[in-house]
Amino acid sequence: MKQLTVLSGKGGTGKTTVTASFAVLAGNAIVADCDVDAPNLHMLLHPRIVETREFKGSKLAILDKSKCVECGLCRKRCRFGAITERFEVDPIACEGCGVCDLVCPVNAIALSERISGHAYISKTEHGFMSHAMLSPGEANSGKLVTLVRQNARILAERESSDMVIIDGPPGIACPVIASVTGVDLGLAVTEPSMSGIHDLERVLQLLGHFGVRPLVCVNMSDINEENTRKIVSFCKERDVEVVGGIPFNRVVTEAMVKGKPVVEYAPRSDAAAGIGRAWKRILSLLEL
């Protein structure tokens, strides 16, 4: 089984648009939406959920006011500022480390598991999908990503699918790291802006750090052709292959509004053609 992660430094570069189209072109791949705090892929692939599981990613301190003697030890030791002056636990600040429970002389604090989100296994028109939803504001998205990828692997085996396509979150921190470790290819979708280039640099460094072979795709490549050339030569210097550009076309947004992958909505458009070329190259690189 081969794994491809589609990622981008900044948000809004067209990562999900590309992933959804890949899902259509692949036909029978398992798709994993690892952007668990703001997933969008389901809006294009319309999965029917067949299985839901609670995600208990972290713990939360619960303070029993009737036992508390307000000695202040927990407040003093908590490094996250999660015990308020009125001796209440701030659930947003609490990281569930258990230090307050450890130091409390009267056993007024206990840790409880908190449900930080849900993981789903679903069916789409183009095969199975593994996805999740982190509860708004929760931490530990990296762990939830790991669960989504685990589910995707299980699905791939069960459905004898030879490929998992992963839609990664933006950025470079824990959920991104969890989305790229051990995959065969990392496709960085970028746009030809100064910040796009800067973010691309960081993403390529990240892929290098984890030994993942990088590929680059430039979305809206004709918005600033000089910057697109910059990206191409910058990639050349680093021996990174650019699998093509996707020209700016209003059909991309229209497809999104209609809730359809662009290769389905406007299969003859130049944007769809750009995505198709990138996909062909990926398949040959993965020897599929």
Binding site: G12, A38, M43, G171, S193, F210, I223
Partner: protein, 262 residues
């Protein structure tokens, strides 16, 4: 959005809290006056004092310690620096040392003061770097914080303590979907907020209908214009080249000030 507002209003402190991919400095070209490492505390086990009782590993909720029969392994990248292992060790064999996970930079551009953090590539925890950036907040000035996208811990850490939050979205189904999530985060945190619609004119009316239904104020609309997109792509804050926008950003900021009563 944040940079254009800061430039138009002037004399503010600007904190780029998007430490995974800070970009404000690319637009502001600051003179950097201070560069400092950002470190977190991680445990160090003294092998001579340790008797491998395993209490530390049992306590640690992040699995950052593994006690073998001969050696204790520390996985610093999993550590949240809570200090629990130091407290729980019966032989006082654990101390803490700093481990670098990022860089803090201070600088200025004209009358703007810029603070930003940069998470090292391969490091997973953005929150301690954001905390360090926010520790540089000075009293007496208006502070604009630029947050990372999404709705998880880095966003929460950035927004904590703010008087007001501005949600920038675009009028598309993706924009609306992510906006709804962000609204839930801010409602939970009880931080007042308003919406700015970027790339107005593309997509559909969903975001407008949602805001109206929820009674959320739309503070500003930035139309989708090739000129704005091109200036952005060249790393130029568009208000610098389109003076009529300076006025709009100033009016927007005055409105925010009025809403927080300051």
């Amino acid at each position: 959005m944040a940079v254009n507002t800061a430039l138009s209003v002037g004399n503010v402190q600007f904190l780029d809290c998007d430490v995974e991919k800070p970009n404000a400095h690319l637009l502001l070209h600051p003179t950097i006056s201070l560069t400092e490492p950002v470190c977190v505390s991680v445990p160090v086990v003294n092998g001579e004092l340790c008797d491998h009782c395993g209490e530390c590993a049992q306590f640690c909720h992040y699995n950052a310690l593994f006690v073998g029969s001969e050696k204790v392994l520390v996985f610093p990248e999993l550590c949240h620096s809570c200090g629990g292992c130091v407290l729980v060790c019966p032989r006082k064999a654990i101390t803490e040392q700093g481990r670098r996970i990022g860089t803090l930079k201070l600088g200025s551009a004209g009358d703007l003061e810029l603070v930003y953090g940069e998470l090292e590539v391969g490091e997973s925890m953005a929150v301690p770097v954001i905390r360090e950036v926010k520790r540089r907040i000075v009293d007496g000035k208006d502070v604009i914080l630029d947050s990372s996208p999404g709705a998880s811990c880095p966003v929460v850490e950035t927004v904590r303590g703010s008087d007001f939050s501005v949600l920038v979205t675009e009028p598309t189904p993706f924009g609306l979907h992510d906006l709804r999530i962000a609204v839930r985060v801010l409602e939970n945190m009880r931080v007042p907020f308003g919406v700015v619609i970027n790339r107005a004119g593309v997509g559909d009316r969903g975001v407008y209908e949602y805001c109206e239904e929820k009674g959320i104020r739309v503070l500003l609309e930035i139309p989708f214009q090739r000129r704005i997109a091109q200036l952005y792509s060249r790393g130029i804050p568009f208000s610098a080249e389109m003076p009529e926008w300076k006025e709009k950003f100033r009016a927007f900021f005055d409105e925010v000030r009025r809403l927080v009563g300051g």
